[in-house]
């Protein structure tokens, strides 16, 4: 059975860490915290770190799972460093952080102070300067996400709205849409990995899919089934499936019917908006997680990285990781052989001591590498070993 190895612990935040986010190259990790700062971390050996022998990384940092209350004497692993701290990035908690996906020099942060800030790193240093502040949410902004092209940015918040911003370069952003259909806080926004399709997750127990028709964004589907707050979600690598996690302690996996054909409905009227049919194809029952699930990440199959040239099966959809309020980090294997199967293969109790795990994020380039963060103020790097 696969098992998780704790490879590094990144210490520095002075309060709960809400989210971690890898850059597109998978060599930098951003984190954000209630301490009002964002931090950027990286392995000292850069990308070689992930491809080198796991044993070496392990030898350099032997970390015990700490089940005591917060330990003041922990320190960052020898193999990782904090590249930059953006102190006082915001006036209140920094709730969300996301690297721009095409270049890795730009970072967005969303805060309880209601604003979203855009930060840019100079070409030769690690200093991030604020190049734009996006205002509009009435109160707490809760999530920020870039589309795959980096052209669009989505934010959401306590005011029940989802905002879509267009980047015109040079830190210039225009708000192109404000979507108000959710009836309660919107907890997270997520873009499809290749298409310009946006997903939002809400305290109103629903998930909404947003599409655009001639730059006019509309709600194309509402996914119902969760019985409490939906905290977040993740797309499968191929973009065909969406996993969602909730305060109802279930994980659900959804798939779509055929994408609406642009032409077949040409005569359906000026204001016709093609909807999406959706279906929940798998549920991890509420007996597996024992408290609210705050985060899910969908990683690519490990086989893709194998040097043996073993061609990975199209049935193998990789791994789901979940971060839960019961202090446990769980890994599920997902396969689609006829039906979609989600199988628990690894359980790491007390992954952040006795604290909630707020976010899990697979490295996008190096399969098996996982970052997590929690209420203990720490960020941890794990490796899933088969």
């Amino acid at each position: 059975m696969p098992r998780l190895k704790l490879v590094a612990e990144l210490v520095g935040h002075e309060d709960r860490v809400w989210q971690v986010s890898w850059d597109a190259a998978g060599t930098r990790l951003a984190s954000c915290s209630s301490d009002k700062s964002a931090r950027i971390w990286g392995p000292i050996a850069q990308s070689q770190f992930f491809t080198g022998e796991i044993a070496e990384a392990e030898a350099a940092m032997e970390v015990d799972i700490d089940t005591s209350d917060r330990d003041e004497h922990r320190s960052t692993s020898d193999t990782w460093q904090c590249l930059e701290t953006i102190d006082n990035a915001h006036k209140r908690t920094v709730r969300s952080v996301a690297f721009e996906p095409t270049q890795g020099r730009v970072l967005a942060t969303a805060s309880f102070d209601g604003t979203t800030a855009i930060w840019e790193r100079g070409p030769n240093d690690e200093t991030y300067d604020c190049v734009a502040t996006l205002e509009g949410h009435e109160n707490e902004a809760k999530s920020v996400a870039w589309s795959a092209s980096g052209q669009l940015l989505a934010t959401c918040g306590r005011d029940k709205s989802v905002w879509i911003w267009e980047s015109n370069g040079e830190g210039d952003f225009d708000c192109i849409s404000v979507l108000m259909e959710h009836t309660q806080d919107v907890k997270m926004v997520l873009w499809h990995p290749s298409e310009e399709v946006l997903v939002s997750f809400s305290y109103d127990n629903t998930i909404r899919i947003w599409r655009d028709e001639d730059d006019d964004w509309y709600s194309a589907a509402t996914l119902t089934g969760h019985t409490s707050t939906v905290w977040g979600g993740a797309f499968s690598h191929n973009g065909k499936y969406l996993a969602s996690v909730s305060d109802d302690r279930t994980v659900r996996v959804w798939t779509w019917g055929a994408t609406p054909d642009e032409n077949s409905d040409a005569n359906a009227g000026l204001y016709y908006r093609p909807g999406i049919s959706y279906e929940c194809v798998a549920t991890v029952p509420d007996s597996v997680h024992t408290r609210a699930i705050y985060s899910v990440s969908w990683g690519i199959p490990l086989k893709n990285a194998a040097s043996s040239g073993d061609s990975s099966s199209s049935d193998d959809l990789g791994y789901l990781a979940t971060g839960c309020g019961d202090n446990t980090l769980r890994i599920f294997k997902v396969t689609a052989d006829g039906s979609l199967d989600v199988t628990l293969i690894c359980t790491q109790e007390n992954a952040h001591g006795l604290s909630d795990i707020n976010c899990v994020e697979w490295n996008p380039m190096h399969p098996g590498w996982l970052a997590t963060c929690g209420d203990d103020g720490a960020v941890r790097i794990w490796y899933l070993e088969e």
Binding site: R16, T93, D185, A292, G325, L354
Partner: protein
């Protein structure tokens, strides 16, 4: 009449029994582990002031020791409280005061669930959902006005 009308102008006030716990011999023996129990949690919150009246939650029987469940081994606390009237708009504030008091007094390992007692509030599900949403609680505690109100209610608790 006051400018700010009270939600419940004449709540029932209950006699408070002496709550002093007799010391046990083992209390002074450092080798004996002393698990946290419902009584200890009750002691932490019973003197919280009601947001409307110069009375404690204990005097109004908003909280009762019997409605507190503690599992020390599992680090779990469940508190059910009883608003004085079913349309009490102060219910979320009372719940927040209880949560903050326990955040400040219980070891960090404890997971605390706070709910209104079943059938005692007309918006029971909404109140419960809000009180147990860690993100909403975190945001509320960054609101200096709200934090002042909470701190006033907690001034009598220690």
């Amino acid at each position: 009449m006051n400018i700010t009308q009270k939600v419940n102008t004449a709540p029932l006030i209950y006699e408070v029994e002496s709550q002093t716990r007799a010391a046990l011999k083992t209390d002074f023996d450092n080798s004996v582990s002393d698990p946290i129990d419902a009584k200890e949690v009750y002691d932490q919150i019973r003197k919280i002031n009601d947001p409307e009246h110069p009375l404690t939650l204990e005097q109004l029987r908003v909280i009762n020791c019997e409605h507190i469940t503690v599992d020390d081994a599992a680090s779990r606390v469940v508190i059910e409280f009883t608003p004085t009237i079913p349309h009490c708009s102060m219910a979320t504030l009372i719940g927040l005061c209880i949560r903050v008091r326990l955040l400040r007094s219980l070891p960090e390992r404890f997971k605390v669930d706070i709910r209104v007692r079943e059938g005692t509030h007309q918006s029971e599900a909404d109140v419960n959902k809000q009180l147990n949403d860690k993100e909403r609680v975190a945001a509320a505690l960054e609101n200096t006005y709200l934090l002042d109100v909470v701190n006033q209610c907690l001034a009598t608790a220690a």
